[in-house]
Structure formats: structure tokens, C-alpha cells
Symmetry: C2
Subunit: 97 residues, 2 copies
């Protein structure tokens, strides 16, 4: 590929997949939150967060460096946590409240 339009089209395709996966991941995090609540275990488990960050660094082959991957996943984890908190407070998972 040598044209701007072609690379941009590829980025747009990747973005569609990213949106889908980010939402699927958030749904999993919500399910985990509900299970934890039912089992009465702490929501925040720092060891699990450390494991996630280690896993993604190990999977990283670049060109993003490890620090960039870590920053991105810290944000992803943070958004999942916000959503979980909102869901626990409001009840509905799908944003009606």
C-alpha cells in the first residue's frame, strides 16, 4: 500500500474491531463485578491488575513500546472500573440510568 487513503481505510477497519473488543471486554468486567458482589469478595484486586499488565507487556511485539501499552491498558482498566461502579450504583448495565 502506498496511498494515504488505503492506510486510513485499514485504520478505520481496525478501529471497528477495537470498539467491538473494548465493549466485549467491558461486558466481561461487568459480569465479574456482579459475581464478586454475589460472592462478597473485594471488587478491587491489585494482583489481578498487575497480572493483566504483565500479560499485555509479554504479548507486545511493537512498534508500541511497553510503556505505551501499559498506559493504554491502564486507561482500558480504568474505564471498565468506572462502568462497573456506575452499574453497581444504578442497576442497569446498558446505560438506561
Amino acid at each position: 500500500m502506498t496511498d494515504l487513503a488505503g492506510w486510513r481505510k485499514r485504520i478505520d477497519e481496525i478501529d471497528q474491531q477495537l470498539v467491538k473488543l473494548l465493549n466485549e471486554r467491558s461486558q466481561c468486567a461487568l459480569e465479574i463485578g456482579h459475581l464478586k458482589k454475589a460472592m462478597d469478595v473485594p471488587t478491587w484486586q491489585p494482583q489481578r491488575e498487575a497480572d493483566i499488565l504483565r500479560n499485555v507487556e509479554q504479548a507486545n511485539a511493537g512498534p508500541l513500546d511497553h510503556a505505551a501499552i501499559r498506559r493504554l491498558f491502564e486507561r482500558i482498566i480504568d474505564e471498565a472500573r468506572s462502568l462497573e461502579r456506575h452499574s453497581m450504583e444504578g442497576g442497569s448495565v446498558f446505560g438506561k440510568d
Copy 2:
């Protein structure tokens, strides 16, 4: 799925795919940066960034809300921009310098 371990395994699988796609996206952005440099056009094009954010909001079916998707993609775009800047300054794309 009713167990924590199962949901966590699914998150780990999604994270592997996310790392791969985020890197593929960054590689596309680097290619675009090189093309722009060769064509002597401005690197930063705010209209393209606005288009990207509009596209991902349109693709978003939740449970993440539009503001969360926007924050995530602002970070993704920002990391691509940092990588591009670093690559232009240092020459190598693959992080030797």
C-alpha cells in the same frame, strides 16, 4: 459462564487481540507519517482526527458509553502520534533508538 476464572480467561484472550490490533494500527499510522513526510503535507490533520472519533462513536453499541470510547481513542491516537514523532526524530521505527 458463571465462574470468575472463565471470565478472566476471556478477558486475557481479548487483551491479546487488543495488543495485536493496537500495534497494527500504530504501524499504519507510522506508514501514513512517512507518506506525509515524503509528500510534504502537514502531519497533524484535525479533521481526520474528528472523523476517527465520529466513526468510533457510530460503531459503539455499549456497554461503554460514547464519552468512554472517545477517551480511549483519544489516548490511542495520542500514543500513535508520540510514536510517529519519535520515529521521525530517530529514524528507526522498531525502537532501537
